[in-house]
Symmetry: C2
Subunit: 406 residues, 2 copies
């Protein structure tokens, strides 16, 4: 053979090493070291169907779970071929990102053939992307960046983590920006809005289209009782004492906001501060914003309301030990002063609720809107199709963000 | 029952919802819906042993894989208790981060009880953290941020992703900083240096201790042929044509560097530009830096050398079709002009090699050092204990970074 002459050949050799090492490291060989089928998963067809595949010849029953995948429910039963590869193909799906995992004989398994993930509070999901949306696709527009930020929370006495979207041009510029705090749900982590929620992509696309103002978008970790990835095991959770806000509110007020306002170039006034959240994060949004209305001009509640509201308004999420009390009575009492503070309400530019008519929190959301309206809030409330899923939350963000800071 | 009076109770209710929803969503219930044991995994003891646990009652054989875990090798055979929980406890481990997954009857499974992950090119690992190091632990010092940056690569005609560490104070300040490009290995992704590699934590700690200069650290995706998480399926890889550099070099030169230099406040001269990489990334470092010595003052090669060097110097990684040629002959010819350019060498402040004596690339590394020295390079070469693992690469970064920009 001739000596190597082309850099292309060297590249090919590096490639060969590159493709050999990972399989050695990952220990992917089957029993006895025989070659296993190199399945492709997930595969997204041009018809927007996702095909999931898993090589698991010894498994007895394999399902694909993905609570956001329409029509899948708990029925994503996969079928096995002669080689031991399990397959399931969805119906055509709307553009967006979909969390999924496999249930293999009762064991929860992320897709071993895909590096794309979305992190939740307690576990990690695989992530599949269905393209076809001007808002959710990564497009050739100026891109912001999403930072993983580690901060020490004095109120909680430990390190915490959040994600911060900075708009295109932030890192090289000198401008100051408004700040939008965006909170996740109970099944999520600080990663969720920028992975399954496509929040940074949505902002990039809205800003490029001139539909949203450039802004800093802060996505904190709403759970305070779980492990923080990259920082070791679970941190102890201390329940709030009497009269004391919950841990997340204390973290938000005493650590997250001060960190953002001292570490980023923000326009630091009420008119340039917004907050919104989905599900648990919508409830946290109300807990944070209502007692401090003077701090926020824009408040968004996605698929949520006062959780633990109790009484006639409660849905499945409306857990309460006072089933006969009027909806939100305890919450109402706690926040009475601010609820009725007309002056603070005057500076509010938008209180925006949206929920799907199939959402189990629909009644909670409606009752919360009614409660706020009883106290003189001017609430803009929308009901959409769909349920308690990221399909709606991406849409809600896409509708809410253009309303901010204008 | 009394009506709710304390915000603490409301917090507890939110907590209840928070802990109920995820398990509904994750479909964690076993067959027939019975309660499954809520195992803790990974658990890191005060003696620095990691205990891994997996509930998999139907599995026949479960191993824990973790190529960086000393003494584990391929022998991490887990044992099953009467409830169906598999367990393995390691020996006491040095402080650091450890990638692992479970092999369940041949199926590769990340830890369903942990949200901490490290992403590779083709798959995702779980990540366990053993504390106890002033360099690798998250400590209460000023923290930088790690951005996930999406950029459009004109040379490759598609979107790509990289991580960018900005030092403490960057986002609020106006200063300009030197840039350190840090490349990963073949079993890694752009996520690896900041997850298993602890690179941002190491820089934070070194900067806080006054041992490293504040710098921007860019961690690109070294693979060009795999899927980009969050951007859909695999992109087509185009082999380099005759005389054309490989895809990564073209991406680095034509997209990554220009993006960093136009989007960040960098000190844009040779004296403030460094590059280093591990394994495949060390080879890429040489391919990028040697033909463009005029651009770099600091070059680091961790556990690597000229991959595909051939001849007497080759180790297991030294794949070559010219086994009898002198080591690196083709590479040497290709880069001859720059290898012998004394002027360009004059501006080099550090060429630093380090490798473990048990590393399968030891001969490749030694031969590469010899080749460079034959061409008049002043190489600083260190051999350490250990092999081709992150245990060494975290140490090498900790030694190399303090040498930069001084």
């Amino acid at each position: 053979m001739k000596p190597l002459r082309h850099p292309g050949l060297l590249a090919a050799i590096v490639c060969l090493i590159a493709t050999t090492l990972p399989s050695l490291a990952a220990g992917q060989a089957g029993r006895g070291g025989q070659q296993t089928p190199q399945v492709v998963s997930p595969e997204v067809g041009s018809d927007s169907r996702i095909t999931f595949r898993l090589y698991a010849p010894q498994a007895e029953a394999v399902r694909v779970n993905g609570s956001d995948i329409p029509d899948l429910g708990q029925t994503g039963v996969m079928t096995k071929d002669a080689e031991g590869v399990w397959t399931f193909t969805t119906n055509p799906l709307p553009p967006g990102a979909y969390r999924y995992n496999f249930n293999v004989d009762g064991l929860s398994v992320v897709d071993p053939r895909s590096p794309a993930t979305s992190t939740s509070n307690n576990n990690v999901w695989s992530l599949a992307l269905v393209p076809g949306s001007d808002l959710f696709d990564t497009r050739n527009v100026p891109h912001g960046a999403v930072s993983t930020v580690t901060y020490y929370s004095e109120p909680l006495g430990r390190h915490r983590q959040m994600r911060v979207y900075t708009p295109p041009g932030y890192e090289s510029g000198t401008g100051e920006y408004p700040v939008f705090y965006l909170l996740h749900g109970a099944s999520d982590s600080d990663d969720s809005w920028s992975s399954v929620g496509r929040a940074a992509v949505i902002l990039d696309n809205l800003i490029a289209a001139g539909q949203a103002e450039p802004m800093i978008m802060v996505m904190p970790a709403g759970h305070t009782n779980g492990p923080t990835p990259g920082m070791g095991g679970p941190a102890p959770s201390r329940p709030a004492g009497p009269g004391e806000p919950d841990e997340f509110t204390r973290d938000f007020t005493g650590a997250i906001r001060p960190y953002i306002e001292s570490h980023y170039r923000v326009i630091n006034d009420r008119a340039h501060r917004a907050i919104a959240g989905l599900s648990m994060g919508g409830s946290q949004t109300l807990n944070i914003a209502i007692p401090h209305l003077e701090d926020f001009s824009y408040v968004g509640v996605f698929s949520s309301g006062i959780l633990g509201g109790g009484g006639r308004g409660r849905g499945r999420g409306g857990v309460s030990s006072t089933p006969d009390a009027p909806f939100g009575q305890a919450w109402e009492k706690q926040h009475m002063a601010m609820l009725d503070n007309a002056g603070a309400k005057d500076g509010l530019k938008l209180v925006w609720f949206s929920i799907g008519v199939d959402d189990f929190l629909l009644d909670t959301s409606r009752a919360t809107v009614a409660l706020l309206e009883r106290h003189g809030f001017d609430v803009e409330s929308t009901e959409t199709g769909g349920g308690h899923t990221w399909l709606n939350w991406r849409d809600y963000l896409s509708e809410f963000a253009p309303r901010l800071f204008k």
